[in-house]
Symmetry: C2
Subunit: 149 residues, 2 copies
């Protein structure tokens, strides 16, 4: 719901990177292992984030993937839009085409309020702040497998 699996994996990988040293390339294979995500699948997802210049990649030995910008500047919203697009924030709960002030759907106001909050939350939350919380409270980014933070 709300976010696609692809998008969630993208967020998890970004957060994982953000808990590591800056500017160091981390091989996708390692991220995949630590987050328990299929390597090839994650590769495809991270390619998209690289194309959108949220991450930068480098091939060959000691290569891998890294955040393209300072983690303080990357907001959760950036990742969501890069992967799932912005349709979520343009549609109502009932997805009636062209719902807006002109031709509102019956739940336009109710959902508009909530949608706005989701938007604000994603826009305000930086990857850095979440990463900090993860480190501070030893939070997990995968199921059981405790990450070696």
């Amino acid at each position: 719901m709300i976010l696609s699996k692809t998008c969630i994996y993208g967020i998890l990988a970004t957060l994982h990177l953000a808990t590591k040293k800056d500017k160091e390339y981390l091989p996708i294979s390692q991220i995949a292992k630590e987050l328990d995500i299929s390597f090839h699948f994650l590769t495809k997802i991270l390619q998209k984030l690289t194309q959108q210049e949220i991450m930068s990649s480098y091939r060959g030995p000691n290569g891998g993937i890294a955040l393209a910008r300072p983690k303080e500047e990357i907001k959760l919203m950036d990742i969501v839009v890069a992967i799932d697009g912005s349709e979520i924030f343009e549609q109502c709960l009932l997805k009636l085409p062209g719902c807006g002030k002109l031709k509102p759907c019956p739940l336009h106001d109710e959902w508009g309020l909530i949608r706005k909050q989701i938007q604000e939350m994603l826009n305000q939350t930086s990857v850095a702040s979440v990463a900090e919380k993860i480190v501070k409270n030893s939070l997990r980014l995968a199921d059981v497998n405790p990450l070696e933070l």
Copy 2:
């Protein structure tokens, strides 16, 4: 996002019924036509709502489907839970298994607030109140096709 297509159709059909006279059976074929939803698909969806006793059905001439309870008593949440289940309200944004106060995911608090509001909105909004708004403001439940309200 958030709600499945099936669930949205279920809500639309319920709202449509609620704008009509109480206790009258409306053929599914007619609802399908007015909402521009495939008849057979809608039939399947309404069967689920009938099984959950949100609607009641009657076969044969002059048969069809009707709300099983007073529309004031049916909340949007009832339909959502009947069709999509309650997992939405038990998961976090990142869908890490077993996210909760014990093993929170990194976005547990942020998402928890929003999830609570979605829950409250769906729990508080009755089918009757939305139907009233639809009638009062001549709102639509389908794309272009203006409903004959």
